[in-house]
Symmetry: C2
Subunit: 310 residues, 2 copies
């Protein structure tokens, strides 16, 4: 009983945070919480926590009785030429932040715990894959083939391991959130997907674990992604021009303000289907990816040019 209280004790900054390394441990935590009638909020992360993640944690604590954070750098969502090995890993700082922010349990498994080696699969692999067609074939999916299948598969696993009532994702990864929302509906996961606003640095740069990789000159150019989005927002609000005109202006803006940057994509899409739009007369999502050196940054903004109903 005392042990139970320790585990699911009152939410709030405390030293009672449970750190689970295995599936069995986190399931035990969740089972006890659920047995006590508590709701569970899950914040799936790859660690290297920043203010963006912390805002998701705050939302989970507010909406649910127990906040669970998963920290797992998922190998299957990185391509062979991508930055898996140099992805920032700061486990001690992450745990301290979670504790400080009143997280109830952290699930921090090894790669082998999530992808156990079988006679058919190597560690870090899964024979079973979950994929969402159409939504995965545009934007980041074009330059990161297989990325969203890796994301979907690990999210399906985390949903089955933690069985949360709600799961919290950041709007910075808008396409990821759209795909996970579709996956959740299509596979009937009994989980509510909550999208939280992008958190930005003072100069507008969207918070990202990958920002840590930026050299000083790259860091100076990085806020140009947000600048280009603000430019797009102004253009659309003022005159609803064709998407192509907005994209050209953004491209030019980036050439001026982040000359080191190499544009991966700039797209204006329907926020639900993620299909490219030709005009900007309805609600649209403006999204872009830019490489600064070997660091690829993404950002996006939803813009609605339609007259407000207020």
């Amino acid at each position: 009983m005392e042990n139970l209280k320790r585990l699911i004790g009152p939410a709030g900054p405390s030293e009672m945070m449970n750190v689970a390394k295995t599936i069995e441990e986190i399931r035990r935590f969740v089972r006890r919480g659920r047995g006590a009638g508590k709701t569970i909020g899950l914040v799936p992360t790859m660690g290297a926590l920043h203010e963006g993640h912390l805002s998701l944690i705050d939302a989970a604590r507010k909406a649910c009785d127990l906040a669970v954070v998963s920290i797992f750098v998922n190998p299957t969502q990185f391509g062979p030429a991508e930055d898996l090995s140099r992805y920032p890993r700061t486990p001690e700082a992450d745990l301290a932040l979670c504790r400080q922010r009143g997280v109830d349990a952290v699930f921090m498994p090894s790669v082998e715990e999530i992808y156990p080696r079988t006679d058919m699969a190597e560690a870090g692999q899964s024979l079973t894959e979950v994929s969402v067609s159409k939504l995965s074939q545009t934007l980041c999916g074009r330059s990161r083939p297989g990325h969203f299948t890796g994301v979907c598969t690990v999210v399906a696993k985390l949903f089955n391991i933690v069985q949360p009532d709600k799961a919290f994702f950041g709007a910075k990864d808008f396409q990821q959130a759209a795909i996970i929302r579709r996956l959740t509906a299509d596979l009937d996961f009994p989980v509510e997907i909550v999208l939280c606003p992008t958190v930005r640095e003072g100069d507008g740069l969207a918070m990202s674990s990958r920002n840590a990789h930026l050299a000083p000159s790259q860091r100076k150019g990085a806020p140009a992604l947000y600048g280009a989005l603000r430019l797009a927002e102004r253009m659309i609000r003022e005159s609803r021009p064709p998407a192509e005109a907005v994209i050209s202006a953004m491209r030019q803006y980036l050439a001026t303000h982040a000359p080191e940057g190499i544009v991966d994509y700039i797209q204006i899409v329907d926020p639900d289907s993620l299909a490219d739009v030709a005009t900007t007369i309805s609600r649209v999502l403006v999204a872009l990816a830019v490489k600064l050196g070997s660091t690829r940054l993404i950002d996006n903004m939803a813009v609605d040019a339609r007259p407000s109903k207020a």
Copy 2:
């Protein structure tokens, strides 16, 4: 309270069987059962119930407090040239059998309930797909591309909708069971997969809803599938010959005893990996598919030639 008792009342032949047409209805039934501390057994079927299904139902009733049967002819597991439209449908007889056999709830959704039309997907489709590589590329997967992706996707949905403790599958569909076992492990579904023995007619023909399609002359040849498996079993037990020799003998047996039959495949595989084996010195699975007219029948047998430890 009276209503609750009606819904989750004592298991046993009764008229208290719950028939749920919607996801919300079956979830309500399961939630109440679980709230009362009951365990849930799921028997996923495509209807046209026969003794094979009834043995799964008996196993579910024995192992779990509440037995739920799903009846859904899943369009996504049929290829464009396959028998979706003529697949036997006998809903009234199915419900009577379930009632008689003491089933607690039947989930009998429409195609639109399982695959709701969205702006991106037609009815009968899902943008999200679950697939198991390797295990799906042999045996039936060769002549039925996409079949097991359809099976995996609908099973993942049913697991999320019913959230059973155990799910029951027949050994006649051995490959399907192996794939679902892999899917369940890989995606961490908290469900135990139970495999039940194939149920046969007096002459050895494996029970199948598709047997109803056999013309009299085809029905006469159909037990040759089991005859060929028995021949293989004898050969392996006696002399452990190379797999190729067993397969040749089976082919010849079928040519004699089911001259109308067209062999789709005869394979001898490892029961776990489903990879072809060259020798029969260890535990193997002998499996075959034969077309009789437009009806495709499958059967299999696990044979262990190793000296028993008894």
